[in-house]
Point group: C2
Chain length 327, copies 2
């Protein structure tokens, strides 16, 4: 299986991307097509031992910057790594495309060149979210900002398929993010989506609240792209706030500083539990092609895991299952 990897995306340059791609070749037995500026890719590859037979370099001259306006950039720069990588999927020259670049541009390119699966009204970006007892999938976290109830219904179907195929759950429970557990709680959108999801061919578990999600009452959390984005970013912000406050309070106290040294491994393990890089990026669901959006800050491990997720999505035929579900 060949996976196209955007060599020019991400905040940390080519090094972690090339390294992550090479690790994925070793661990998962995939082939990687590095997409981007040939000389820069060759230079990075030359510094590492690698098997040329599992590698292809696909030259793309242009770059879409991390902070550019996505849609305009994708329309204007047809020879950028994000457009070239997406078109490889379109032409079946790659089984999936992985990018840690400008996520808006990756979404825009996927919608523009791959299009949606038949019957899918809106795409959703699904990301795994750490809980006390493993992970759950949250979708949408930013592909479709304004949603209709039918969109949330389809997100339920798509999340269910992904949780089975990629997270390996036999009978995933699907919940709807709301402001209260009871059926009648929430916005008009959520109340209408609740009624639709009740009749969906999935295990619908009703509404869930943000405070309960860490205890993993459900495996899949359905929400609109605006709320999901706020949910993910708030989680990130609160985790950082708590760790920083704890650090400040520890530094103020000599005894505590010693204590924190002794507890260093525990702190490290806690951060690791909440570390996005283990989970390998967000999947764009509902699109006629497998596209994985890795975090801009991805290190080589995160890139490797994003490639694993892409491979699992292909292996488990997530696209086919979604197509079946939305018919």
């Amino acid at each position: 299986m060949k996976i196209a990897l955007d060599a020019m995306g991400g905040d940390n340059g080519l090094a972690p991307i090339i390294a992550g791609g090479l690790q994925a070749i070793q661990e998962y037995g995939v082939e990687i097509a590095f997409v981007g500026q040939q000389h820069a890719i060759e230079r990075e590859l030359a510094r590492r031992t690698h098997d040329p037979a599992a590698i292809e370099i696909v030259h793309a001259d242009q770059i879409v910057g991390m902070h550019e306006e996505p849609s305009a950039a994708v329309h204007a720069r047809r020879d950028s790594s994000v457009v070239v990588g997406t078109q490889m999927v379109k032409r079946a020259e790659a089984a999936a495309f992985v990018s840690a670049g400008n996520s808006g541009a990756t979404l825009a390119a996927a919608q523009l060149f791959l299009g949606r699966l038949h019957g899918v009204r809106r795409a959703a970006l699904g990301t795994v979210y750490p809980t006390l007892h493993g992970v759950c999938l949250v979708l949408d976290v930013g592909a479709t900002t304004d949603c209709k109830p039918e969109n949330l219904y389809q997100f339920g179907i798509m999340g269910h398929a992904y949780a089975q195929g990629v997270l390996g759950l036999a009978e995933p429970k699907v919940g709807l993010l709301s402001s209260g557990e009871e059926e009648g709680k929430g916005s008009v959108l959520v109340k209408e989506a609740h009624q639709l999801l009740k009749s969906a061919p999935i295990r619908f578990a009703g509404n869930v609240e943000g405070k309960d999600i860490p205890y993993r009452p459900v495996d899949v959390v359905v929400t609109d792209g605006f709320t999901g984005n706020v949910f993910i970013k708030t989680s990130e912000g609160v985790a950082a706030l708590l760790l920083k406050t704890l650090e400040r309070e520890i530094k103020r106290r000599p005894h505590a500083t010693l204590g924190a040294l002794l507890a260093k491994q525990a702190f490290r393990a806690t951060k690791a539990c909440l570390d996005y890089s283990d989970y390998g990026g967000a999947a764009l669901l509902g699109i006629a092609g497998i596209v994985i959006v890795a975090h801009g800050r991805s290190d080589s491990k995160a890139i490797k895991n994003a490639i694993r997720v892409a491979k699992q999505a292909v292996d488990s035929n997530v696209m086919g299952v979604i197509q079946e579900g939305v018919r």
Copy 2:
């Protein structure tokens, strides 16, 4: 100044409410009207030293339970503590009403019996939110689930007035919760509200993201009641997840367990920084009367602080300033 206090509300019975009310009398020089079942209140008062001159007992026979459907309960039970307390404000027999009871019932009673200030289209519940550098005010966190752009505009005006009057900020900066910092980011609702807020007579600082709010780029965060509710509950959930994960990782390691003992004070201080009870509950803004919704889990300190917030709202004429702002 006399403040009506719902003696029958809250998850922990009368004891913390009576204790908090008595502490507030001592610290803030207010009078308290305890509203609820007379015998139960007298029994709790008899167990504590108190100044009868600063206390009134207003009998209300009925109770609205913590999990009852708010609107129906308030309509049906006119002799419940929440209705009687609200009507004391309506008749100017109390300057404000504080309740740790069923928050939906408190909101419903306020809207039904006090009504909104002239020109205010929807009420908002504003709560203070801990950050690395103090607190900010977030509104709405649940009074108006479905909002229009004009509602968010008015929440900006109301939040500004409250931050000046109760938080004591001379020139509060007001931000709009969105999925991106740039002006064009967010839902249709947010984009339209952004344009309105730009022309509001307040210091509007543009969009803010959940991940940035802990660093307090703004003093007031405006959002719709659905998103605000998800925001607050997610914060609560993530903080609990992080502390529990840390605890689990520490317990696994003998060295770390010793370390955590040494760092105990720092852990305690961290929890205190994030403790809702210091901040004294949420204020219902836009209503023709001062109503403070305390957390159901309030201890006596939280009740005392909720009374302080009520007093500050009265002293600073928040209602008058809001009325002026929305004209």
